[in-house]
Amino acid sequence: MAGQSDPHLSVFSAAEVEFLAEDEMVEIVPNMKMGPLNFICGDFGPFRPQIATEVPLWLAVALKKRGKCTIRPPQWLSVEKLTQVLEAERDSPREFQPLPFHYVEISRLLFDHARDDIPDVYMVRSLIEDIRYVRFSKVESGLETISGRTHAVKLKNLSAMEVNIVRPFVVRTLQAFYKHDSPQMIQHPDTAANRPPQVADRGPRRDLRRR
């Protein structure tokens, strides 16, 4: 089962990240009457027509597919909010805006299964795309700053899918620096300290000890 790949470089598959995202709660408005559902993962309902209630995303999508409800998109998934986020992402090259940890998967699932419930869905979708793109280029430029001196990397507000994408590269890079830790390979401490603050090395630093 282990296969050949280092399990560390691909901890979660895309399907597994989506599985985790499906447990995020969303609000639905049922159009039918149904008693409470007492699941292993929790109790939901009862469901009454036109009375909003919170359920996990997987349940919301299942009900939606069966024509039993509409899904209320989360507040952040609106043209207004996302426009603000996008601007803020562009204005702060070193930071990520707070978005749900699973914003990529949640929005994708809703685009796939509940597009008629999202006002201005085309606009919303393209805003999400833009945000992903801006954030990803920030990740890339942040990664360029990883060096042998990086001991702890702080990635505040990075989302699950983004983590998954950068994981192989970050882990391999940090590992390589760790392994090849030698004075020649490490930049001079002064230049490192004078660099502007950046995504990738807010953590404390020092030379890794030679072993």
């Binding site: 993962c41 702080k154 507000n157 590992q175 760790y178």
Partner: protein
């Protein structure tokens, strides 16, 4: 508990959150994530697995009953989905552990601390695996090498330590999220490496340095 009050007081929400956060499914998911992301095998979650299996059993019975007494297919399909999700987590959790045992069987068999993290069934599996692997390696390589070079653990009779046993890399880097505020945390023994772990922050750190926090459940690997 759910009195239906619409006030949504902060305290009520917090209570609700912590209640939600401690369902067995939530715990199982956490155990699954940590086991998936940690380079070494973690403590077997015996009572959690026991409880999860009981709940799955109950739910299987319920779904069967539903099918028999003609409950509407919609409801049945939803219960089935809930059941499928929990079963996937359980199976996947157990599989990842097997995967680690397969990968590091010799090391685990020879390290008390690790050996004691396995369930009894896993221990029997590990024992058999190790025997089979040893037999295979002896048969195909070791028995054909000259005297002094036949050990499975050492490169040669003159090696001082067991220098042939594959071990997990504990100083690999992992992605983690602190649940609450952990506070200033020492990254190494010498104490000149401190990081302030604030709630919900995302970090990439060396596994070795946060191992204890993972074991205590203060930090989640993601």
């Amino acid at each position: 508990m759910a009195s239906g009050s619409e006030q949504g007081l902060d305290t009520a929400t917090e209570d609700y959150d912590s209640l939600i956060a401690t369902t067995d499914v939530e715990l199982l998911k956490q155990a699954w994530r940590n086991e998936k992301a940690a380079p070494e095998i973690l403590q077997f979650q015996a009572s959690l697995i026991q409880r999860s299996r009981e709940q799955i059993q109950l739910m299987e019975d319920t779904v069967e009953e539903f099918t028999e007494n003609g409950t509407d297919p919609l409801t049945v399909s939803l219960y089935q989905m809930d059941l499928d999700r929990t079963q996937f987590l359980l199976r996947s959790y157990l599989r990842i552990r097997l995967q680690k045992i397969e990968k590091y069987m010799i090391h685990i068999s020879r390290t008390n601390e690790l050996w004691n993290r396995l369930s009894e069934q896993e221990q029997r599996f590990a024992k058999r695996c190790t025997d089979d692997m040893e037999k295979h390696l002896k048969q195909s390589v070791l028995s054909r090498l000259p005297y002094g070079y036949q050990s499975i653990l050492k490169q040669s009779i003159s090696s001082e330590e067991d220098d042939m046993v594959p071990e997990p890399q504990l100083d690999t880097f992992v992605f983690c999220k602190s649940k609450g505020s952990v506070g200033a945390f020492q990254l190494d023994d010498s104490g000149d490496e401190i990081v302030d772990l604030v709630g919900d922050d995302l970090y990439v750190l060396r596994y070795k340095s946060i191992k204890a926090l993972v074991e205590r459940g203060q930090i989640d690997l993601v």
